[in-house]
């Protein structure tokens, strides 16, 4: 089965630093998403991206966050100035039609630790 790939699997950064989380969605998918999960809590939607622009974003996705699809294969999430509360697992996902059914595929996540 096709996979969404995320790198790195674990990122440690200092508060106030910029981080970029990288994702390679499944090649023929058109819709891309970022979710996050603070340890022990539920998974929360951050942003959806389609046709090279944000289609929806949550309240969490403030001006410190941005997304980009720089080269037609990668999909990145940038946090400009990290805060302690940004520590979480960040999941990338993409969706497309598989066997006639639309399906959402998640990557294995990037654990971000802000110190």
């Amino acid at each position: 089965e096709p996979e969404v790939t995320q790198t790195p699997s674990h990122q440690v950064t200092q508060m106030g630093q910029e981080v970029i989380l990288r994702c390679v969605p499944i090649s023929n998918h058109l819709y891309f998403y970022w979710y996050r999960q603070i340890l022990g809590q539920k998974v929360e939607f951050l942003v959806s991206f389609y046709n090279n622009e944000i289609s929806e974003k949550s309240e969490i996705f403030d001006d410190q966050f941005s997304v980009e699809r720089p080269d037609g294969s990668n999909f990145t999430l940038k946090i400009r100035s990290t805060k302690l509360e940004d520590s979480a697992m960040y999941f990338c996902a993409s969706s497309g039609r598989t066997g006639g059914l639309e399906k959402l595929f998640f990557g294995s996540g990037t654990q971000l630790s802000v110190l």
Binding site: Y31, K42, S48, S95, S108, G109
Partner: protein, 119 residues
């Protein structure tokens, strides 16, 4: 706005037994999808089963089946013949289905139920 509620923080079951995880949701949408995702200790999100709201027939995937009660806004997951590998956090999730829209991927998750399967 949609909400998804899983009222069982933790459940346990003996290997080979059957267990049911509960989920309720609230929405004004008439057409939507419901999902159960499994998250093992690796924290990967794995789709277990999906249900389309306009289908009255309950979805089934091998040992996993759902009891979808649309009027009651209830969507429970039944795991038959539980295996040790079923030990994981299980999340119920909802997304509205809008024609041509991207909302398919915007999931609202419940708080999760930790399932432990004992040998």
């Amino acid at each position: 706005a949609q909400t998804v509620t899983q009222s069982q923080p933790e459940m346990s079951v003996q290997e080979a037994e059957t267990v049911t995880l509960s989920c309720t949701y609230d929405t004004s949408e008439s057409n939507y999808y419901l999902f159960w995702y499994k998250q093992p200790p690796s924290r990967q999100m794995i789709l277990v089963i999906r249900q389309e709201a306009y289908k009255q027939q309950n979805a089934t995937e091998n040992r996993f089946s759902v009891n979808f009660q649309k009027a009651a806004k209830s969507f429970s997951l039944k795991i038959s013949d539980s295996q040790l590998g079923d030990t994981a956090m299980y999340f119920c999730a909802f997304t509205p289905r809008r024609a041509g829209g991207t909302s398919y991927g915007k999931l609202t998750f419940g708080q999760g139920t930790i399932l432990t399967v004992h040998p």
